[in-house]
């Protein structure tokens, strides 16, 4: 039975709010002996997290003790968030794989090929050459000595 099913059936549908409080407090617990770490505040190492997970799985009675109920909830919420991140990572891997396959299918684009593509684009779409940010130097002929039109 999954953690989700157990949370839903044991804590969700199997208990009233008051019973949930009693479970969290524990009938005989002092509060310190069974103190679990909370999500966001724990700063747990991955091995510690898996140790808790092992304890949860090894406990065949389900999340009945105060610590187990909290740890089960913590792990469940962590797993839900981790699932979203895993899905996003998978999508990124699929996208990168597709790009690589496209690269291998069409080969490497050389500067000459790029130049041809740019030329075709200019013809088709009228794309002009970008204006230089700094003014060009004057042409060589125009830089000679002044000649008046009145001169003979």
């Amino acid at each position: 039975m999954s953690l989700e099913q157990r949370l839903s059936s044991e804590l969700g549908r199997g208990m009233t709010p008051w019973q949930l409080q009693e479970t969290l407090l524990g009938k005989t617990a002092t509060g310190k002996a069974t103190e679990p770490k909370l999500r966001g505040r724990s700063g747990l190492r991955l091995s510690q997290r898996f140790r808790q997970y092992y304890s949860l799985v090894a406990n065949s009675g389900g999340p009945s003790s105060p610590a187990m109920a909290v740890i089960a909830s913590d792990i469940y919420l962590d797993m839900a968030e981790a699932s979203v991140l895993i899905a996003q990572t998978r999508e990124e891997i699929a996208r990168a794989t597709l790009m690589e396959e496209l690269n291998q299918s069409f080969g490497t684009i050389t500067p000459e090929m790029q130049s041809v593509v740019d030329g075709v684009k200019t013809i088709l779409f009228g794309e002009g050459v970008a204006l230089p940010a700094v003014a060009d130097a004057p042409a060589a002929g125009e830089s000679g000595e002044f000649v008046s039109e009145l001169a003979w």
């Binding site: 953690l3 949370l7 839903s8 009233t16 409080q21 109920a69 909830s73 919420l77």
Partner: protein
């Protein structure tokens, strides 16, 4: 606070029905004192003398006075006062229980109900948690400032944090399970 809003009209009507007792202005005011025992005695006398409608005002005053005279014995004094008030018919037995547990118990009266969590708490989790936050402030007054029971207050504080976490997970699991059916 819920009990006050539900009780006020009933007590007001009852006060009108028995009009005659303590109707003069200032007759229901408690004597100014810093001694907790004297304040409790004054409140009992006033409540027995026809000032039932002032019960919650007296309770607030008693809590303030008790803050000036803190100690574990205050739990017992408030318990006796609330039981006496219920016996006198000023408040109901359930209201007395609710008030005592709201201020002096680790568990939250805001997180209670006869139905399972999926069908009750999970329908309004934000409101329940807001009520619990408000109750924690009353527990701070009752447990920490009045009874000097820091351990119990910190357990209540932790219980609120754990409840928040467990309810979030449980309600999410309830939603997923109900959607998959």
């Amino acid at each position: 606070m819920q009990p006050r809003t539900t009780l006020a009209p009933i007590l007001a009507a009852a006060a009108l029905a028995v009009a005659g007792c303590a109707t003069s202005p200032g007759a229901c005011e408690l004597a100014d004192t810093n001694r907790s025992e004297a304040a409790f005695a004054g409140a009992r006398t006033a409540l027995a003398g026809g000032c039932e409608t002032h019960f919650f005002t007296y309770l607030d005053q008693l809590l303030e006075v008790a803050e000036e005279d803190p100690g574990p014995v205050q739990k017992e004094r408030f318990s006796e006062f609330l039981v006496w008030s219920a016996d006198q018919g000023v408040i109901s037995r359930k209201q007395a229980q609710t008030l005592y547990n709201r201020y002096f118990n680790v568990k939250f009266v805001s997180l209670a109900g006869d139905y399972n969590n999926c069908s009750s708490t999970c329908r309004r989790p934000a409101a329940v948690l807001a009520d619990m936050e408000a109750e924690l402030r009353d527990k701070e007054q009752g447990l920490l400032k009045i009874s000097r029971d820091a351990d119990s207050y910190y357990r209540a504080n932790r219980l609120l944090q754990e409840s928040e976490l467990v309810l979030e997970a449980t309600c999410r699991a309830c939603d997923v399970r109900s959607a998959s059916r």
